[in-house]
């Protein structure tokens, strides 16, 4: 927990000196928001050992719920919990068809769920305005308006802290042990330890969905405009890549991964300036590089960054609490 926070502080200081305060705060906000969604995936993928391809759709549910409620003047004390609840309900629904099966069937049912949600957001134009998208009002409560990058960063970091503490508590307790048991060996978990495997998986998906909903609500406010294509299958894969790069076994993996995912487009843009003529202009370069990063990560560092940075030993010492 301390190391990534320290790292964030260093990067923030660097960012402040090079890019200006507002830009750095904006980037930190994005990192925190992505990390919240990533925490959900750490639970589902890293702890409970399930694959989900629908996390992006759950973020979308949170974003749309928050936007539609905020547009009607509902205060955030009500609208954010609603977004979280919708995300959790979505997570439960997506995992329901494959409750009794593992692995690939979860991937399939969450994939189907994600595509249904995306199609729904495009087609239900009376509510979502379809592909035209919705512009999101500023996060405001009473007289307070969160409209400066600094304020947005503080809100996001506070939300991340709360989510992190909640996850940490859960992982250290009964739920966490059950998830890890299911991850290691479903049959042994059920028969030797009396764990209800289906309920345990469901709990992971509900929590993951809730975190995705929270991330979606925040994301919508910071970006200021949402449309279905922001939350397509590509986004789900980006989030999956986030936890994989960061290291799915540790909560800090979500933060590391978010850092990489948010800074990757910037790095690619920098690279574009350096590369000679013809290549830098081609439209496919970004896709190729993004794909290459995934492939390289999978082949070269399959455990993720979090475990590479000494997190593994630390977690052995402290029990797998973070």
């Amino acid at each position: 927990m301390l190391r990534p926070l320290l790292l964030i502080a260093v990067i923030l200081a660097l960012g402040l000196s090079v890019l200006g305060a507002d830009y750095a705060a904006g980037q930190a906000t994005l990192v925190a928001t992505y990390a919240i969604a990533g925490l959900g995936l750490v639970i589902i993928v890293g702890q409970a050992g399930q694959i989900t391809l629908g996390q992006g759709a759950l973020v979308a549910l949170g974003a749309y719920a928050e936007t539609l409620l905020a547009m009607r003047g509902v205060p955030p004390v009500l609208s954010v919990p609603a977004a979280v609840a919708l995300g959790a309900a979505g997570g439960a629904l997506a995992s329901l068809p494959a409750r009794r099966l593992g692995g690939l069937y979860f991937a399939m049912s969450t994939l189907a769920f994600a595509l249904i949600v995306e199609e729904m957001l495009v087609r239900w134009t009376s509510l979502t305005r379809g592909g035209a998208g919705l512009s999101v009002p500023t996060l405001a409560w009473g007289g307070m308006r969160v409209d400066t990058p600094l304020a947005q960063m503080l809100v996001s970091l506070a939300a991340l802290m709360l989510a992190w503490l909640a996850c940490r508590r859960l992982l250290a307790g009964r739920s966490g042990r059950a998830w890890r048991a299911v991850r290691e060996d479903e049959i042994a978990a059920a028969e030797a330890c009396g764990i209800d495997v289906a309920a345990t998986k469901l709990r992971a998906f509900v929590l993951g969905g809730a975190l995705a909903g929270l991330a979606g609500a925040l994301y919508a406010h910071w970006i200021g405009f949402i449309s279905p294509e922001q939350f397509g299958l590509m986004f789900s894969f980006e989030l999956l890549m986030l936890v994989f790069i960061g290291g799915a076994r540790h909560l800090s993996g979500a933060l590391w991964g978010a850092l990489v995912i948010v800074s990757l487009p910037q790095l690619i843009a920098l690279l574009r300036d350096v590369l000679p003529g013809e290549w830098s202009r081609s439209a496919g370069l970004e896709t190729v590089l993004f794909g290459a990063v995934i492939v390289a990560m999978v082949l070269l560092r399959p455990q993720g960054l979090a475990s590479a940075s000494g997190g593994a030993q630390a977690s052995v010492r402290k029990g797998t609490e973070d």
Binding site: L111, A112, E119, M120, G284, T287, V288, G291
Partner: protein, 289 residues
Amino acid sequence: MLSLIQVLTSGIAIGCVYGLVALSFVLIYKATETVSFMQGELLMVGAFAAVALNTGAGWPLWLAAVVAVAGLALLGAVLERFALRRAIGQPHLVAVLLTFGLGMMLRGGVTSVPAASHDIYRLPFADSVLQIGALALSLSHVLVIVATVVLAGVLAIFFRYTRAGLALRACSENARVAALMGVPVASMHTLAWALGAALAAVAGLLLAPITFIHLNMGLIALKAFPAAVLGGLTSLPGALVGGVFLGVAESLAGLVLPEGVKDVVPYVLLMLALLLFPDGMAAGWRRRR
């Protein structure tokens, strides 16, 4: 009645393409326990390779098609040798991300070719119509169905009567026992990927006269997953049947249900199938028999 037959034929034709992609997916999954999320990209690359050889290099269409399919088989084998074999024995997530990343590299590579990203292409004979009495069928639809039937026959012969086919089957039933019987399991994995990539390329070529050849044509592979699951995930004939079933269901939904619902039908069916037959549809049928 006539319009129903026409809708059914077009549904079967598109379903054949779903089925072929599902077939390639199941083939790879059975042999290597790897889930390929790059079948759509392989399909797209295969179609573009044929277009490049046909219109770009001026080769006759049949030669371009054969070379494109063979080239994709080679690409599949090379990718397996250098990257994909690392995913064997790892959690499913590794293969999912690896194939997705490779797929992105392929798509980005094609996007980088200026001619590919600016135009959409059609292969010749797309617009011809086959007239049987009052019934007008699109020649391309009939062609796709015939080609799929022929291909399924060839594959059945390959799996039943050739050494390589038998070895591949043995390998996907039980890799350990197959290895003990002297089957070179590693080369069978390479063969499975080569076949899978070639099948995707064939699907791309068959899709070309129905839709167009463009960068996002690979999205059709997303419908191959429901088709494969409906077919039982590990059954090769099931994948084809699942694909055709989906194609027909989708076309009928387009006829009956309101605009836009059609595209969701495969996924709703998939969710239902997973709910009702948690062991896969094939297991459901087997139990009932």
